[in-house]
């Protein structure tokens, strides 16, 4: 299986993602933001970090990079595009997934483990996953998902909510919401479910010596679904 990770100026989880994809069997290529063409890929990943320093709105300047036109075309033709953290913010800025990501509610960067509940398995990312609740890691300053009430209705009607912040047993309540995100939303699909943006970093949880191993489940399942 072939994957591509895009490196934007200021990306800093690109290597981590590369390591994770390789570990679970992807043949991964690093792609520079200023290139025109995507290599042939089964999966394109927009990694976390601070593209362009997040100096305007997170992800806004990266969304105008040269390579993004190819990524958008790839997504529109049904290709799998996964945006993690800053990658999610970039996806939102391109309009590939709806909504925006605002500053965290308490205006503080948050780095910690959280539980997420997988809401929708009818898609290439979570199909066949045998757990509903995963322990994932978040590290972000702007993960406070927001959209208008019309958008929210559409998203819900189309089953586009991928994951929610929850507690260990899957309860989705305000007290388990780390950043003020609307309805505890942690990740969103596009309508067709081939594009996924999410705040948590599965690539940081691929080894039992790290903060946990639920990221491994995610990647193993993903590559099996693509095969």
């Amino acid at each position: 299986m072939k994957s591509s990770v895009i490196t934007f100026p200021g990306s800093n989880c690109d290597r981590d993602m590369h390591v994770a994809l390789k570990k679970f069997g992807f043949n991964n290529k690093m792609v520079w933001h200023d290139d025109n063409e995507l290599p042939k890929s089964d999966l394109v990943v927009l990694p976390g970090g601070f593209s362009y320093g997040d100096y305007l709105r997170c992800g806004s300047m990266a969304s105008k990079s040269k390579i993004m036109q190819s990524v958008i075309n790839f997504a529109n033709s049904g290709g799998l595009v996964l945006g993690i953290c800053n990658g999610f913010q970039i996806l939102v800025e391109t309009g590939l997934v709806p909504g925006v990501l605002l500053r965290n509610k308490y205006l503080e960067f948050i780095c910690k483990n959280v539980f997420i509940k997988v809401d929708n398995k009818n898609n290439p990312y979570f199909k066949n996953l045998d757990k509903e609740i995963l322990e994932f890691h978040i590290a972000h300053n702007e993960g406070n998902y927001f959209c208008t009430s019309d958008q929210l209705k559409q998203i819900e009607d189309n089953n586009q909510i991928a994951i929610y912040y929850s507690n260990k047993s899957g309860k989705i309540e305000d007290q388990f919401n780390p950043n003020g995100s609307l309805n505890n939303i942690a990740g969103i699909f596009n309508k067709e479910k081939n594009v996924l943006g999410m705040m948590p970093h599965p690539e940081r949880m691929i080894d039992k010596s790290l903060s946990g191993e639920d990221g491994s489940l995610f990647f193993k399942n993903l590559i099996n679904n693509i095969k």
Binding site: P9, N12, D16, F50, G53, F109, N141, R204, S209, L210
Partner: protein, 730 residues
């Protein structure tokens, strides 16, 4: 402008120093030259008050590849790998503008590390604030934490450990010390020594602006009352540009184009160009019109003294300019050939086709002033007579509650949760443990790092205090299963012109030296920050020690959380009941006098090495050193982290219960072992003549100290975890 004595004094130079400059030059310097002298000869760059004493520190050892004198120290961690590390202060700017001051401090220390060819793999910080009641403290703390996070998080380097304290002596002068570790291959280390004639001198990074002109002088002047009106220029950090600079430099370093490289830190282009030339025993020529400038009409004086961040100076091999330029273009960074190395042994500056400065480099470096300042010795204070009856009246639970929720003991999670501590995917011990630990990417090895200071002990008796911090650093590394290798130090003191403050400096350095020599834990890099004072009053002497150690097999790393019910808990080291200067004495008894705990370097070493033997044999399931707050504080933290309780045995000791639980005797560790291994463990301890006690056994969710004192783990947690969050949100 004609230079005269008054202008020199305005530049922070002393009358005699100005005279010396005229004598060395055999003429009056022009303004640009005077600026260069003032920058090179100030405390920050010249170490004029400290050099004499720093020489006494042990700086070499089997594992030391590079000691002090370069951008950072370098140690060998086997298999061709090396760790580059250093700590730096950014105290004064952080008081004036906490966010930018702290941010640029982090940026500066990371540059020191990647200048040597190392990719930064971990950040640490040691931050000290005034009393929580002081009205400025909260905003300073918030600004500093946001600044450290803002820069480090954006760079994608995990912040894995640190230290935070509050003390009213920092009310008008906070401390912000930042430390970085980088990883490099032993044969790919870059140095700042220029070599060869007519080699191109390259400027890369951000453009030069008017920021921080005289920043280095500011760092060397104490705050007076008017500081708030003074509005000195503080630099704004640009972590995005630094991230690009890091990647571009590492890309260029992968080849063989670089002869020497030096970041532009304090005193910017001045100190970087002079240091490179001086080390290579060469001259250097710079055309200032070629320096990329942000503002129009910048003068030679401003260009030379600007402290704009995110800039580097490189001496390249001839003919590599195009290749280098291509890399910096790719990363959208400024690149300019601004000069060349010469055989004049002078620094020669040109501007608008005129020579605007010409100074022999040895006058700036070797001939810079060095002072043997007057200093006062501190006598060991007399022990306090504490009445046993007073201690008997205290309830253990009440005392423990106060100690665990004390600002200097309570959990600092509010801080480190704002630092990305997991990026790079190799953090295996996050903040909150005895040391932060990161794996050496792609290997079985891991590196542990800790930063510590004990201002109260240093204030009471600098010599003991100096020794104590080195020992504490050593213990924190051992507690996670790492073999300590070397330290870096950031020496934060008041004015060297005050004989008490100078004495504190001299004796702390002596203590650090003695301990580091005995433990074979050499000093490989460091930084001195003087003039941390408001009006005439200096801060408590606060040397910060950054320690680094190696874990050969990261699966053998130890953490402090209690692991398993029914396991036994042992205390390594002897409890004598030293209460003076303990957190207990200072906060519960309100007794601020007396000597700090005694340091026995022989026991320290023996206990530590024996710990490493036990860990090597896999006997240790969890471990934690005993530091401020004493035995019961250490045990409480292990309970909280492991979410388990303990039933303590009745101590066999003759001292009172309070003294037993809260005294701060040194050289102690708490370990958890499986009951089946007790005999084997005891054997090893006996063989090494290490004093130990059986403390008790691990149970579910409550701590039983004596028949009357029983505390649930939830209670312990609530004592320990809430203070800082409540304080910051109030």
């Amino acid at each position: 402008m004609e230079v005269n004595e008054q202008i020199a004094i305005d530049h922070g130079l002393k009358k005699e120093e100005y005279q010396k400059i005229c004598d060395l030059l055999k003429r009056t310097p022009n303004l640009t030259e005077l600026g260069i002298f003032s920058a090179m000869w100030n405390e920050h760059c010249s170490y004029k008050s400290s050099r004499l004493h720093l020489k006494k520190l042990p700086t070499s050892g089997e594992k030391v590849i590079q000691g002090p004198g370069e951008n950072a120290g370098v140690i060998d961690i086997d298999d061709g790998d090396a760790i580059v590390f250093k700590i730096e202060s950014h105290n004064h700017p952080s008081f004036i503008e906490p966010y930018q001051g702290a941010a640029t401090g982090v940026g500066g220390i990371m540059r020191d590390v990647f200048t040597m060819g190392a990719r930064p793999i971990a950040n640490l910080n040691s931050i000290h604030f005034g009393s929580p009641q002081n009205k400025k403290t909260k905003n300073l703390l918030r600004g500093v934490v946001h600044g450290i996070g803002g820069y480090g998080n954006c760079m994608g380097v995990p912040t894995i450990a640190g230290q935070t304290s509050f003390d009213s002596s920092y009310n008008g002068n906070i401390l912000v010390n930042a430390m970085t570790l980088g990883l490099v291959k032993k044969d790919k280390i870059f140095y700042s020594k220029a070599a060869g004639l007519n080699k191109p001198v390259i400027y890369v990074g951000s453009k030069t602006g008017r920021d921080g002109i005289h920043g280095a002088s500011m760092a060397s002047a104490s705050f007076d009352e008017k500081i708030e009106e003074k509005k000195p220029t503080v630099q704004v950090g640009d972590p995005f540009t630094e991230k690009l600079l890091l990647e571009a430099c590492l890309e260029l370093m992968a080849g063989d184009s670089i002869i020497a490289i030096q970041d532009m830190g304090a005193a910017g282009l001045t100190s970087s160009s002079i240091e490179m030339a001086s080390k290579g025993n060469l001259g250097i020529e710079i055309d200032l019109n070629k320096v990329p400038c942000r503002e129009s009409k910048m003068t030679p004086y401003e260009i030379m003294l600007s402290e704009s961040q995110e800039r580097m100076l490189i001496v390249l091999e001839n003919g590599k300019e195009e290749l280098a330029k291509k890399i910096f273009d790719k990363w959208n960074l400024d690149f300019a050939v601004i000069g060349k190395t010469t055989n004049s042994k002078n620094i020669e500056l040109f501007f608008d086709n005129q020579k605007v400065a010409n100074i022999p480099i040895n006058t700036l470096v070797e001939n810079s002033p060095m002072y043997d300042r007057k200093w006062k010795k501190t006598k060991l204070p007399k022990k306090n007579k504490i009445k046993k009856e007073d201690l008997k009246k205290l309830k253990v639970k009440d005392v423990l509650k106060k100690i665990l929720s004390h600002p200097n003991i309570c959990s600092k999670e509010w801080i480190w949760q704002q630092y990305d501590h997991t990026v790079m995917g190799d953090t295996i011990q996050k903040p909150g443990g005895d040391s932060g630990v990161v794996r050496v990417h792609g290997t079985k090895k891991a590196v542990a790092a800790t930063v510590d200071s004990s201002a109260v002990y240093c204030w009471a008796h600098p010599l003991s205090g100096g020794k104590q911090i080195v020992c504490e650093s050593w213990r924190n590394l051992i507690s996670v299963g790492a073999t300590p290798i070397a330290i870096t130090n950031c020496l934060n003191f008041g004015s060297p012109e005050n004989d008490v403050n100078m004495g504190e400096f001299v004796e702390c350095v002596q203590g650090i030296g003695e301990a580091s020599k005995h433990l074979q834990f050499p000093v490989v890099s460091g930084n001195v920050s003087f003039y941390n004072q408001t009006k005439e009053v200096g801060i408590k002497p606060t040397p910060s020690i950054g320690g680094v150690g190696l874990i050969k097999d990261y699966t053998k790393m130890i953490s402090m959380d209690f692991k398993e019910l029914n396991n036994l808990v042992l205390l390594i080291g002897k409890t004598e009941g030293h209460i003076d200067q303990s957190l207990f004495a200072r906060t519960i008894l309100d007794e601020k006098n007396g000597p700090p705990p005694e340091i026995n370097l022989f026991n320290e070493k023996n206990n530590g090495e024996t710990m490493l033997q036990l860990i090597e044999k896999n006997f240790v399931k969890s471990a934690h050193d005993v530091s401020i707050g004493g035995l019961i504080t250490a045990i409480s933290k292990m309970c909280i982290k492991g979410n388990k309780g303990i039933e303590l045995n009745k101590p066999k000791s003759l001292i009172s219960e309070i003294e037993y639980l809260f005294s701060e005797d040194q050289g102690r560790y708490i370990i958890e072992i499986h009951p089946n291994n007790l005999d084997k463990v005891v054997n090893i301890l006996d063989e090494n003549s290490v004093h130990y006690e059986k403390l008790g056994k691990i149970v579910q969710n409550h701590m039983t100290i004596n028949p009357k004192t029983n505390i649930t783990i939830d209670e312990l947690k609530s004592y320990n975890t809430n203070w800082l969050t409540n304080y910051m949100s109030a």
